[in-house]
Symmetry: C2
Subunit: 387 residues, 2 copies
């Protein structure tokens, strides 16, 4: 059986995602599609625009067979940890044979070469990397420069999907077949997920760029009083944490240097809003997403599990349910479809990981005001969406 893994956020699900699925179906008509997706918070350290069940459902409506939730520690980590956790989660099914991803270049040999370099850095690569870091470049920028130098490539900073692909390939089992689906943004006119989110924040629904299912979900959500969530609503809580924690502790929780931790705290004292805090705390060594993730980690700390704690099912179609029955036999970690029932059977470490996932889902509830969206403990009564 061919089972193709896909790593995604679907924040929200849009036509670009749809085209990726279509391309995979064309190239692998026999394959089941299994996805691992960020839950309530995304890799940018921000709350997802719609809840995880809705996003998973839109993906299944577009042809995905199963959607698993990526554990929140990995979902909101650096590109490297995100990729590691996502690939390991797909591998834990024991069933995945292929890995598909979007790619600007579509140049699989180059991507594989770069992935191999990251995994087994050459002396030259390490020299270039160290020199860039010494000049004060953020790690991701220094790494890109070293990769380009070592491979004679260019323009990696304008190829976010290639950067992700390299990171996935780095951790992918050697027996997986990779499928680089070339993106053609000029031709297909897709808006990025980020541009779509910005339009939504400005009360526009860019329906042309969304699938019908996703557009209908987004429209229905606002009609029902759903608010586009933003970490800014937790700013007082963030200030209290930063004001109160010793610098060493801020540094430990966020993984920032002590100097950076001092900066985060100082900014919390003077900045009157979350956006002002980001502006004040930013410097050339840091990306905004690193700051957002640090804020999230201060508000809702999550420890990174040593291994995949469980496979949490968010949605599946009929084919996906057959897949899940097979996975039950092949998986290296328990399946969780009913949080209450299956949660009890987990090891204590996996239970703690589940509690962290539940806590982060609970937190997003506080960003809503409509009573329907403030019902507590949805993780315990919301079954996977069986489409």
């Amino acid at each position: 059986m061919q089972v193709c893994g896909i790593i995604a956020e679907f924040n929200p699900f849009h036509k670009g995602h749809d085209r990726l699925l279509t391309a995979v179906r064309e190239q692998l008509p026999e394959a089941r599609l299994v996805c691992v997706m960020s839950g309530p918070f995304t890799q940018r350290g921000e709350p997802a625009i719609l809840d995880k069940w809705a996003r998973a459902e839109a993906a299944v409506a577009a042809g995905m067979n199963v959607v698993f939730e990526l554990h929140s520690a990995w979902a909101t980590a650096s590109l490297q940890s995100f990729s590691f956790g996502a690939v390991k989660t797909l591998a834990a099914t024991g069933l995945v044979t292929h890995l598909a991803f979007g790619s600007e270049s579509g140049n699989l040999p180059e991507l594989n070469h770069m992935a191999a370099l990251l995994q087994r850095p050459t002396a030259t690569f390490q020299q270039v990397l160290k020199a860039a870091l010494a000049k004060g470049a953020p790690f991701a920028v220094a790494q890109q420069g070293a990769l380009e130098m070592a491979c004679g490539a260019r323009g990696l900073q304008d190829r976010p999907n290639d950067r992700l692909a390299i990171s996935y390939l780095r951790f992918a089992p050697t027996d997986w077949t990779a499928l680089a689906v070339q993106r053609d943004t000029c031709h297909d006119g897709a808006l990025s997920a980020r541009a779509i989110r910005q339009a939504l924040q400005q009360n526009r629904l860019p329906a042309n760029y969304l699938t019908a299912e996703s557009a209908s979900q987004l429209k229905k959500a606002t009609t029902n009083g759903w608010l586009w969530p933003h970490l800014a609503d937790f700013y007082t809580a963030l200030q209290l944490r930063l004001i109160n924690l010793p610098v060493a502790e801020i540094s430990r929780i966020t993984g920032c240097s002590e100097g950076m931790a001092v900066r985060l705290r100082r900014a919390a004292r003077t900045a009157e809003s979350f956006d002002a805090w980001l502006d004040t705390a930013l410097d050339r060594h840091l990306f905004e997403t690193t700051l957002s993730r640090a804020a999230l980690q201060l508000l809702l700390p999550v420890s990174t599990p040593a291994q995949v704690p469980y496979l949490r099912v968010l949605a599946a179609d009929a084919e996906g349910r057959r897949c899940l029955r097979a996975i039950q036999q092949t998986a290296s970690t328990p399946l969780v479809t009913n949080t209450g029932r299956d949660g009890k059977k987990l090891t204590s470490k996996a239970q703690a990981a589940l509690q962290a996932d539940v806590a982060r889902q609970e937190a997003t509830r506080l960003l809503q005001t409509a009573p329907a969206y403030r019902r507590p403990m949805r993780d315990y009564y919301e079954p996977p969406r069986m489409v």
Copy 2:
């Protein structure tokens, strides 16, 4: 030299406080009056109605010579720890000879007897206490019952000043002279500080019950945009903490039992406001103040110091400044009048305690909206009020 210690919150300073000072001055005309006062948060676990400098200034205007700040860990602790910290702070001056307090009964022999019982419990006392606890009574209630039984006294639950007095006397050095100033609430018609706070929350200024200085302060504060502070503004932050922390950790931070910690967390999931949270979490084993203090400790955790870390001066008059010069020679712990300068000379433990005091002061700033009241780090630029 006679130096009389007074323990207070002045939240806000009112005519009842004024009468206590007058009575002490009548009975000890030669004495200097030295006060230890709660800082930004009070023993009820709530933010003080006015900032600590204003409250200290009102007290000096009414005849107090020096006001020290009680370290925030003690200021927001149980009656027992509050009393312990306050008495030890006064004792650390090395100069106090008397201790004055209000008392409903004015019955010093009885108060001393009860204090001795708390310090060296008899077998009978312990039996009665244990029996009441076994029936599920809150500790304070069980202790009151046992004290009454052992001393043949009555009505301690209606004598909050006597309960405080007993607790002070328990920890007071044996060479201090106690002065129980009888309160006569019927005769003098004083409103309690609590009733005054309630009136203020309802936009009434009960000037008849306030000193001229205190009434003028309160009026000026509202004119300048000061908001009566309430822990409710931190409710989202509290929810995030309770949702996210493991029960064992909630229990460790708050000192609540694990069962109670579960209750606090469950309430945070369902209650839509801080007041609703208090209502939901309350049960017969618990007082509302215990819950407020638990909330504060979750939001702004402070470790209790093993000994008095420093003597922080908030206000003094000319006589008080002479007193402070004497204390500089006699104190068992450093004087802090300039936070930046004196803070640097403290031991690392005392510096950590000072940081905690500063953090709690910073937090109260977030409860205000007027720019004048949102200036950060007031502890570092606000000198003691030298009246």
